[in-house]
Symmetry: C2
Subunit: 218 residues, 2 copies
Amino acid sequence: MPDNQPSTDAVIELLGLLAYAELVAFDRMAADARLAPDLHRRALLSEMAAREIENYHRLVQRLRDLGGDPEVVMGSYAGALEAYHEQTEPRDWLEALAKAYVGESIADDFYREVAEFLQAPDRDLVLDVLHDSRYADFAAAEIRAAIAADPKVANRLSMWARRLVGEAMSQAQRVAAERAALAGLIAMGTGDFAGVSALLKRLTSAHTARMAAVGLNN
Amino acid sequence: MPDNQPSTDAVIELLGLLAYAELVAFDRMAADARLAPDLHRRALLSEMAAREIENYHRLVQRLRDLGGDPEVVMGSYAGALEAYHEQTEPRDWLEALAKAYVGESIADDFYREVAEFLQAPDRDLVLDVLHDSRYADFAAAEIRAAIAADPKVANRLSMWARRLVGEAMSQAQRVAAERAALAGLIAMGTGDFAGVSALLKRLTSAHTARMAAVGLNN
C-alpha cells in the first residue's frame, strides 16, 4: 500500500521523539536508582537505565541514515519530555517503580501501535527498543509486596499514577499540536479521528488492567 | 608461587570495591551528562556511564561465585566512595570531563597494577573492566580544545584536578586503614613498604604525564 507509507520526515520525527525519550529516561532512572532500599535493587534500576542508552544509539543511527539531524529533531521534543519528568520526580523508591511501571508501559503500548504504521526496518527497530517485560514484572512484584505490607500504600500510589497519566496526556497533546508530521503519521495510521479515539481507548484499557493487576485503582 | 596467592577474602574485597565504584560512577556520570553542551556529548557521557553497569554485573557475579555477599562487601566501601563523589561534584561540563579523565585514569592505573597480584580468572576480569581508552581520548580532546579557546581554563582545571587527587588520596587512606584484607593484598603484591611507595610513585608519574598531555599542571 504505497499510498499509506509514512513520509521519511514523519519517521524521522518518531525516531527523534523515541531517541530523546530514551536519553532523558536514562538519566532520570539513573537518578531514581539512588532511591532504592538496597544495592541489588539499585543495580536493577540502573541496569534498566543503561539499556535505554543502547536503544538511543540504534535510534540515532537510523535517524542519521534517513538524513535527519539528531540534534535538531530531538531538540523539538526536549521541552515536552523534560517537562514530563520535572513534573513527575519520584520522592521515594515506590514512586520511582510506579513511574517505571505505569509510564513506560503506556509509552511502550503507544510505540507498539505506531510501529504497525511503519515499514521494515523501522517497524522492527521500534518494536525492538520497547522495554523488556521483566522490568515491568519486577516493578509490579515490588508494588504488590509493598501494598501487602501496608495497604495504605495503594491509595498513595493510585494518586501518583493518576498524576503520571495526567502529565503524560498533557505533554502528548502539546507534542501533537506542535509536531504536525508526527501527528499526521498517527492520524494516517489510525485512519481518522475515530481511529485515534480507538487507539486512546486501547491505551486506557491496557493501563487500567495494569493498575488493577498490582492492586491500584484508576 | 602458591605462597603469593592472595586469599579469597582479599579478592572478594577488591571485587566489592570495584563493583561499588562502578555503581556509584554510573549514577554520578549519568547525572554529569546533563551538563553537556549538546545532545551528542550528553549521549557520549551517558554511554560511558552505561558501560559501568555491565562491568558492575560481571564483578558482582564473580564476587558471588567466590562466596561473598555483594551487599555486605560493597557496603564497606560505600562511605569512602560516596564521600569522594560528594566532595567532587562537577559544576560544569569541563569539570565533569576532567573528573572522568583524571579520576578514572588514576583508578584504572591502580586496578591494572593490582590485577598483576591476582590469578586468572580474576586478573582478566579486573583488566577487562578498565575504562575504554577512547573515552579518555574524548575527554582529553575536549579539555585541550577548551584551553585553546580560553587559556584561563587551564588554571581553573589544574586546581580542580588537584582537588580530585587530594580527595581520592584521602579516601584511599581511609580504605587502607579500614579494610585490612585489601591493604594486605596490596602490601603482599608489592612486597613491602618500599613496594607500596614505588607503586604510588608510578601512579603519580602517570598522572603528571596525563595532566601535561592536555595542558594542565600539577
